[in-house]
Amino acid sequence: MGFLHTWLPYILAGIAVGGQYALIAIGYTMVYGILRLINFAHGDVFMWSGLIMVYMITVLPLWLSVILVILFAIVLGTTIEKVAYRPLRSAPRMSIMISAIGVSYLLQNFALYITGGLTKTYPAINWLQKTVTIGSATTKMVTLITPILTIVLVVMLVMLIKHTKIGMAMRAVSRDFETSSLMGIDINRVITVTFVIGCALAAIGSILYFSNYTGINPMSGAMPGLKAFVAAVFGGIGSVPGAVVGAFVIGICENLIKGAGWTTFSDAFTFVLLIIILMVKPTGLFGEKNIDKV
């Protein structure tokens, strides 16, 4: 009891941030599963969703802004795919990754220009930011909402992947890109749907994340993005439940480490975890063994 009393605030914070990382991580893991591409721009789509909300809320009601933010993220994500990734589909892996880094650089710099480099305060969504007390911890409502919402969304997504036609197409494409295209699956459509799902979830994640940590600047997407990617690798890249578990593990560990007084290494820890998992079990917790073909 004493242990829980001391550590409850950290665990709660960890679960909340873990849920938010999970929503971003799904985008990474799905895109990687299908395109074998680390979508470096994904964290910036997340940041932009936050920024758009800041601007939108000044003129529109909340419910409409939320819908438009999700739409915006979807449009941005699919446009990036169309403009920056699709033309390079047959190019070497390195070129497409460089293109992703270039897009990330562009999105960050454009945000820098629009915001003038100043941190914007995220609009207060009152019921999300209400203070609640659980045992020894006082926290925001969003801390409790996040894990529930995350799990609901993930269950829905898993159902979609398992039981719909498009879900099956996604599984087929992620298993073997070329063969599935020979089977008559419209690859471009599958990829677009993947980006739509990933970006929509990132937009929802941004609403939760920035309601909790209310400042947005052009670099706000970079760190959560990297951590979410590490979460995806940890869980086994390509696996949606894996990414979610990985995200929760990273979120909770990060906060426990801060609580233990190792604050200097709270970010570095994530990468240590990444390197350990890559060394010990490169396929991650739930990843399937991938056989390299000659």
């Binding site: 950290y10 941030v17 003038g116 480099g117 100043l118 909790n212 940590y213 760190m223 604050t263």
Partner: protein, 392 residues
């Protein structure tokens, strides 16, 4: 062929090591315009503060666009560069100013970039006046750098005194990794606070961190009486938010950076207790206050740079002062030549400024003995004057 190439290369290498010192001579201002360089961040961590400081300089320039040097009327032109709050970009930004023939440089907000740029100004022998860079290293070994604000050892002691006198015995100190300003100020605070008999818990957060939940929880867990966190306003807004969310239950204490409308905006309507030390108390000079607010009202871009409202930051007042100190230095030198302005600076005495008179000691720092202590009124979202505090 390879041998031949290798030989030439080696020869050239030896040649470099024997090259003598190549110091550039300084250029001088020409025509009827005199240029003042503004070396401030407009982006990065300190973007908000840097913009507010620049506003003070721009407003001063608007009020007094000309200067009379040795009987000739000169138009003052501001050359503004963005140092991006980044030590590695600061050097080229400073070089850019020097190459545009500025007679004197003002800035910067944030000490790290000033320390990084000091050598560029020293090489070109162009004087620089630090506006709100409070780290002692800025002026310590640089003859060209002066400053008009107080220093961290002073401010740290003032804050420690204030905390101790108000019955706080255990302090939680949070600074940012790689940030000279917060690390330095925390260090001086800790020194002074321990000397008084207080106890401290020190922690640092990494770059780009926006999750302060655990830091606030740590402060609560350690049972501290005060949360001392003199970090950039970007992080400050997030800390205030978490302090409210977790019902921190102790005052937040900080230095001059927190005297900003970003803080009052973040704290408005929240159950938090914020106390800061600063350079200027709003209302200290009503004419200045009204004038600059009127300017914000009429110039929308100025308003945007100030964060969207007309609340005055102390750094804006300091920027305003710095401009007039620069003009006085030019008048005293009777020349637009940087070297002569530099020679006139040590003995300069300027009065009639909004943040108090300025004179420099032998290291080039302003002689300041008092800091203003302000408290944030979370109902109105404005600063309230508490007391003047000295280091003794």
């Amino acid at each position: 062929m390879k041998k031949f190439l290798a030989l030439t290369m080696t020869l050239l290498l030896v040649l470099t090591f024997c090259v003598g010192c190549g110091g550039g001579d300084s250029g001088s201002g020409g025509g009827d315009t005199i240029k003042i360089g503004v070396f401030e961040p407009a982006s990065g961590d300190n973007g908000a503060g840097g913009k507010q400081e620049t506003l003070g300089i721009q407003y001063a320039n608007k009020m007094q666009p000309t200067v009379d040097i040795g009987g000739t009327e000169y138009n003052v032109e501001l050359v503004i560069v963005d140092n991006e709050s980044d030590n590695s970009k600061a050097v080229t930004a400073a070089q850019n100013l020097v190459s545009q023939n500025v007679s004197i440089v003002l800035g910067s907000y944030g000490s790290g970039v000033s320390i990084a740029a000091a050598d560029v100004f020293a090489d070109a022998n162009v004087p620089a006046i630090g506006v709100t860079c409070t780290n002692p290293q800025v002026t310590a070994d640089c003859e060209q750098y002066f400053r008009i604000c107080f220093l961290d050892p002073f401010q740290g002691t003032v804050l420690a005194n204030y905390a101790y006198e108000n019955g706080m015995r255990k302090a939680y100190c949070l600074s940012k990794l790689g940030d000279d300003y917060s690390v330095g100020l925390v260090n001086y605070f800790v020194e002074a606070f321990k000397a008084l008999g207080g106890e401290v818990v020190e922690e640092q957060f990494p770059d780009k961190n926006s999750d302060f939940t655990s830091y606030v929880a740590n402060a609560k867990k350690a049972g501290c009486d005060v949360f001392f966190s003199p970090v950039s306003t970007e992080a400050a807004a997030l800390i205030i938010d978490q302090a409210e969310a977790q019902a921190l239950g102790m005052p937040l204490l900080a230095g001059d950076t927190w005297d900003s409308n970003v803080i009052t905006g973040a704290a408005k309507g929240k159950n938090v207790d914020i106390v800061v030390t600063t350079f200027y108390q709003e209302g200290g000079n009503p004419d200045f206050d009204e004038g600059i607010k009127a300017w914000f009202e009429e110039d929308s871009s100025a308003m945007t740079n100030n964060g969207g409202n007309t609340d005055l930051a102390a750094v804006t007042a300091m920027g305003y002062d710095a401009y007039f100190v620069a003009l006085e230095a030019m008048k005293a030198a009777g020349s637009t030549d940087p070297a002569e302005i530099l020679a006139a600076l040590p003995s300069l005495q300027v009065s009639g400024l909004v943040c108090g008179d300025v004179s420099f000691n032998e290291t080039g720092d302003a002689n300041k003995t008092e800091a203003f202590v302000k408290k944030c009124n979370t109902e109105t979202g404005e600063w309230e004057f508490l007391t003047k505090q000295s280091a003794q």
